[in-house]
Symmetry: C2
Subunit: 634 residues, 2 copies
Amino acid sequence: MTTTIREVLDGRWAAVRDEVRREMGGLRLDPDPDASTATYRAQVADAVAQLAASGRPRRGFPPAHGGDGDVGGVVTSFAMLGYGDLSLLVKAGVQWGLFGGALAALGTRAHHDRYLRDTIDGRLLGCFAMTETGHGSDVQHLRTTATYDPATQEFVVHTPEPGARKDYIGGAARDARMAVVFAQLVTAGTGHGVHAFLVPVRDDAGNPRPGVTISDCGVKAGLNGVDNGRLVFDHVRVPREALLDRFGSVAPDGTYSSPIDDEGRRFFTMLGTLVRGRISVAGGAGSAAEKALALAVRYGDTRRQFSNPATGEEVVVLDYLAHQRKLLPLLATSYALHVAQNDLVERMHELQEPGALDDERAQRELETRAAGIKAIGTWHATRAIQTCREACGGAGYLAENLLPALKADTDVFTTFEGDNTVLLQLVAKAVLSDHARRVGRLDPLGRARFVAGLVGDAVVERTGVRPLLDRGDLRDPAVQRRLLVAREEHLVASAAQRVRRGLAPGADRFAVFNGAQDHLLAAARAHVERIVFDSFRAVADRHPLLGRLLVLHGLSLVDADRAWFVEHGFLGARRTKALVTAVNELCAELRPHARELVDAFGIPERWLACPMLDGEHEQVAPVDARPAELSAVG
Amino acid sequence: MTTTIREVLDGRWAAVRDEVRREMGGLRLDPDPDASTATYRAQVADAVAQLAASGRPRRGFPPAHGGDGDVGGVVTSFAMLGYGDLSLLVKAGVQWGLFGGALAALGTRAHHDRYLRDTIDGRLLGCFAMTETGHGSDVQHLRTTATYDPATQEFVVHTPEPGARKDYIGGAARDARMAVVFAQLVTAGTGHGVHAFLVPVRDDAGNPRPGVTISDCGVKAGLNGVDNGRLVFDHVRVPREALLDRFGSVAPDGTYSSPIDDEGRRFFTMLGTLVRGRISVAGGAGSAAEKALALAVRYGDTRRQFSNPATGEEVVVLDYLAHQRKLLPLLATSYALHVAQNDLVERMHELQEPGALDDERAQRELETRAAGIKAIGTWHATRAIQTCREACGGAGYLAENLLPALKADTDVFTTFEGDNTVLLQLVAKAVLSDHARRVGRLDPLGRARFVAGLVGDAVVERTGVRPLLDRGDLRDPAVQRRLLVAREEHLVASAAQRVRRGLAPGADRFAVFNGAQDHLLAAARAHVERIVFDSFRAVADRHPLLGRLLVLHGLSLVDADRAWFVEHGFLGARRTKALVTAVNELCAELRPHARELVDAFGIPERWLACPMLDGEHEQVAPVDARPAELSAVG
């Protein structure tokens, strides 16, 4: 076996990763933590300008406009910035991912010809004005209006009420000259739903344009290198051509037309083209969690506390079982998510690269998977970084040791580019629709069998354990997968049945869905966790340590939901107690390799350097063998 | 019933709480989030001076030195600052709790006469130099030395190695003139363990004293109004009287004497007198969690997102089940911890108030309870504040809406004043010792029955459900308590048995304890959770809503560990599925009272005011009834 772990993790865009390591890995990206917000913003804006000058952002844009069309490469390259500075990642993401991406995906030839090169090169700085103060998750019901005036062939962009203010817009407070504004398109007195418009918001000198009021969101919990702001429009007129008209256009006389008749479907198709942003957030969160784990594992591998009475030597903290159980299952899950993210990026690349065929079904599947992995991955990052901070004690609380910025910067990832709870609802919706299609396709006999299956489930739940599933070694990934699949299928089928039954004629739809909300979210989570497990499993035979990490990851998943498995008869109570033992065993097996496993991420050393790791190779002299706190328990 | 919820929550020191509300509630304590660290530190130092001028810190000190001897009152009063600004709470805690507290508890008459009044009045600013870079949790093995020199009758305080540097010391970087330094006392070539010494670290002009090197820990994840620093001593000489000599003294000729012979016991007795700091941290964390819940519940009570297709009105987010399940069980647990904290403070007060009898057993119990409630309470705060931040979406990420500071400031609470994992080990140690005493006191027949009981347990686990426990309404607190008690007893007894069996002659003690570490931690947690539940239960009949909160809290505890209850035969699998339903029902019952329940904390309105709540009473017009995301699932 000659494959290294690094090769598996780096995946298809290994060369892109190495390029970032080579070209940027020597720079210190993290800011002076005592710098003012103004200074930090200026530094990040400079770094964005340097990125533009490097030409690297070209990679993601169509060749016709000077790009390389390497969609997967550019997302991979951005995610690498998550090992460095997340403000830079987000600021670059706003410029090229959100603004440039909307221009490319929602605009047509004329927009591309006129704006793309300047956007790629950073001469035109943009922002992405979707979210409003009153509408964050429910963006279909934004209140900003863009009303067509045939007399002048202009759109009038307007903020009709305080809640329609564009809010939290990255780039708006300081740098953006132009905004992609999402607004309700109205022509001839009729609304056609949300569309995107190019609206200049600042003049060349950086002053707000007439009718545009810009304010600053001020200091945030993190990401303070990004200038988030608010935009209010007072009857701002833009030419008819300002409409990004790939999915809907207005003729000079005001006639509206669209290749997609249904307004809802049109809107979600538009949103779907912007899936790259969500995938990039998942990638950035993954990098941040990996960096935190690298810091905590390296610290835990040399930090000593309390002495072993038998040897008199102080014990390295990662030798404590509780410390291993804190960090190593999270590390295994980070590996699984890393590989699942690679698969997601590859799938997006195949669907979006120049010349790819339109495949609406595949596109919907991609969006579902992106929503799910973003939700699960960003929650994982929040939990992992928090745990790593605590695992480093006081040192982890000091800005100089990098964990505080990781924690603060990633915190918003769970609620931006889609609130995680809302995203899991989208996943639930897709999974239930799929399920309905499958059941619908069954002939009457099949349908009867399907219903009988659910009844059988209920019987098993009443009587005890399903004999087939309650066998096999829980350390066997095939057994783990059977459990994960069974959970997913059971949750999806039972949620579908519950909703179907609830929706009797005259039923209160809201009450039915609301009452089933936790059930739906559990089904969505089970689906995503199974997908992530499958991604990791597909590569786990390429290196023995990957195999063990997969086992630990699978055990963690089953362990975290072991009450459910027992309650639904998938595991006997006695078996799940063996889970704890198995997790402990895997921790012991992986502990000697912990350092190697975090090194395999290939995070530039310069980006990890911090005082807490300065003494990494320092030897600590043994102290006298007084009983340590731990062993004093007896 | 005329008792209000507020009265129950305010408890014995209601008058103190009202005084803080009245006298400080009109001030805005939260700092400008864009202020530099230097400015913030200066502001907090000013606020400490104002507190000193108010005379309020006197409350906690002995009457003989101008105080009121109201130990419980002063801890209550400090905890109230957690609703305002946590930097101020910590900075005040360093001055009067840690520095003043050590002076009072470890010093004797001469120290009190000379320093207490100046300390109370803020003329003498101090810091508490215990933690070293290399020894945070294992403070018994600190490396700083204080070597007695009989020739000059001085101690020589010295930092012998880089790891012995005093680190993270609040007040050291900027303000402290004097430090209570914990160091290994050495006289006549013999070490007597860690003792505390008064060491001047700065002169009146604020410059470091000769031999003292002071550096700054710099920016931290939070609490940046506190000037944490590092102290290195190069053979600094202090007079013999600098030793705080209540538990150990050195005669002029260098002879050491102590009322406590055993060095370990002496050290832990000294530490025990400082329990007030740990209790204050638990109180501050509780206040912070309550403030976060108040912010999130009030926001969630007016924020609307997605429309109900039946009515066309946008739904208030707290009407979503998933949102209720996020916030309301945490609110119930905050209530339980609030009441348990009141009990803890009262018990401390009784043991520490002037004239209280020495009761070593009660003191040990207090320390165990303080350690446990601090650990469980600060983890709860971290989780609750994180959940509240996410529940407020983008608004929760803006500094102006107060949640970022709550999150950042409290984060270190899980690892300072004792790392939570280490604290739970202390609890485990105490609980197992108690258990051993109880078993040891049994006559041979009783002991045989006890062992048979455990064997019986094992039989039940193999065969299924314990019939007695698997009955009764899970919404009945008496049933809930039976389950919590059964879990605690089972975990403690089985952990004790495991350790006893493991410690056969020749066994590797470290391996035995390390292998059982998760078991010990689970036993400790079960013990603390039962204590907290009991505290809350004792007051729950004083108001109907308290009764419901208790039920929800109990359900949450059982639900969180339901796998364990099933695996050990305490609940049948079918019963635990009913838990989910019961939690949902309680959420629905409490939802209409959510606002009232957070108002009952009595947090000054000024301390909650933020832009996100400005529109609290704004009416939002219904939008057209297009299917909302949620109901689009069907």
